[in-house]
Symmetry: C2
Subunit: 320 residues, 2 copies
């Protein structure tokens, strides 16, 4: 299959586009028209076979995840996702595989008004790089650096699902057709990115949880020059997680497990209720920002856990 046809396959049969997409694929570059008074948010992430997904993973899962992790980064800035480009490298470029990849990307986009405006395909070892773009009113980006002592730390959805899903799958201790195990594995392969636009004007700082809560929250604390205290036993968990998680691994999976793509949001106490009301998913308060530089993690008995034990975990490579 020639490259030009392949790019059409990847990007050609999409839902009706945005009115501010002036030109999609098929030229030297795409053209978009960000509305007046808005800033553009830009992020890029590569998924590589054998590192971020198994080499024989279904194309639709690869496409889903490559798109979702980038839309999650856009959401973590408080922006509304608007456009994406896709650069695909694959050993053999086959139509049905590319169609499945594209369908996974469209599933990750869901109802969001996101146009795939550009693509590149190359033959080589399998990897997918998505660059995603979002829009937000000028000056309203929710950065990592805005946390202040006294702010609450909140988490959307539930934590630990993807890490437990991976662990059960690798260990094979729970049947593949176990409903809870299937749900957890879907959280790993098809993470639900959150709409972050409700954070505009309410949140001081945010990050999406890709590397694990302890690691990602540390990025916020370093950027903000603050410390924090969080309660490990208040971390939100799913029913499937509660059912299948070995009790002694609960803290590790929820604090260090990556790939959940929930949002960690820092905001004044008075803004927690309004934000929770505006979100379409649960929001759980897990602790507070403090002066200093330390991340304190305590359990239900008030005992301190060692935060450093929960940082820098990496599923496929055993480190960064």
């Amino acid at each position: 299959m020639r490259e030009f046809e392949l790019i059409r396959t990847l990007t050609g049969r999409l839902p009706a586009g945005r009115s501010d997409t002036r030109l999609g694929t098929g030229d030297d570059a795409a053209v978009v028209a960000p509305p007046a008074g808005h800033e553009l948010v830009v992020t890029t992430d590569t998924l590589v076979a054998g590192r971020h997904f198994p080499g024989d993973a279904p194309a639709a899962d690869i496409g889903y995840k490559a798109m979702a992790v980038n839309l999650s980064d856009v959401a973590a800035m408080g922006a509304a996702p608007a456009w994406a480009t896709v650069a695909l490298t694959a050993p053999a470029l086959q139509t049905d595989w590319c169609e499945a990849l594209q369908s996974g990307m469209l599933q990750a986009i869901g109802d969001a008004p996101v146009d795939i405006i550009g693509g590149d395909t190359t033959s080589g070892p399998l990897s997918v790089t998505v660059t995603a773009f979002g829009l937000l009113p000028c000056g309203s980006a929710v950065r990592r650096s805005g946390a202040r002592p006294g702010d609450r730390i909140c988490i959307t959805g539930t934590l630990g699902d993807a890490a437990l899903g991976l662990q059960l799958w690798q260990q094979g201790v729970v049947p593949d057709n176990d409903t809870a195990a299937q749900w957890l594995r879907a959280r790993l392969h098809r993470p639900q990115w959150r709409d972050g636009t409700a954070m505009q004007g309410l949140a001081h700082a945010a990050i999406d949880i890709s590397d694990g809560l302890a690691s990602d929250l540390t990025h916020v604390l370093e950027a903000s020059g603050c410390g924090a205290r969080i309660e490990a036993d208040r971390l939100p968990s799913s029913t499937a997680f509660d059912t299948l998680c070995p009790p002694d691994q609960r803290h590790a999976l929820q604090l260090a497990g990556g790939d959940d793509y929930e949002l960690c949001i820092v905001l004044p106490p008075a803004h927690v209720e309004p934000l929770a009301a505006a979100l379409s998913c649960p929001l759980t308060s897990i602790g507070a920002i403090r002066a200093g530089a330390e991340l304190q993690i305590i359990d239900a008995g008030g005992r301190a856990l060692a935060a450093r034990d929960y940082r820098g975990w990496d599923h496929f490579a055993g480190g960064n």
Copy 2:
């Protein structure tokens, strides 16, 4: 080296940034503020080891080319390049190698006001994906589809240099230290992208020549619903090319050789002189757009060459 440090190495020590770059690397996403009345041009291209460059190529050459080919796509729309993101996949992420990659990218950027605003690094088989962004006044994009019968077809710079540089290098028939051969090889590894902003308001259509003139001009003709007639012996050539090119390969290298990254510009005859005066490189008229759908290529004796023989050439892979 940890990913966070590496991204800082790739993007951290850059020249003073643009005033409309609100936030660079270090957060979930970058934030930029396109000026009012402007559209944003977006393009992405991946270079893969063994396909677009030898696996042991100098990191600075890889960085240079990855950036240059994307800035060339931005230029081919008539836009002024403004920002770029870099997604690097490499087996071993070493500081000095990444610094060399970055220095090559900065050399490709040169004096252009381009900020590298985002990055991602992953361990895996070597490839570099750059996404580049340009700005142009609303509605002024120079597309492939605007060619009209009667328009002139012009080429910036010279054609065939990169293809001849590669051929000589692969054949080893000319000493590596031959000045002309070195110059030709530099055209392959370090192509000079052209500033396309002068095309705004003057050109009807444009494309950058990455796959070869016959192939790329065919894209313009297909998008515009036109034919063309060009004169193979009027294609501009460099002194080094004239010195080292075997006479019987001249047409093939100039018509089918890719990687020159010159601009093929289609414009009304009355606009050729004003555009030539505005460009900082030579502009050569090589033919005209005609009605129909055929690309006619004739030599100095008026004999027709077979256009299909010069399309779809690929340096590293022998096809798309």
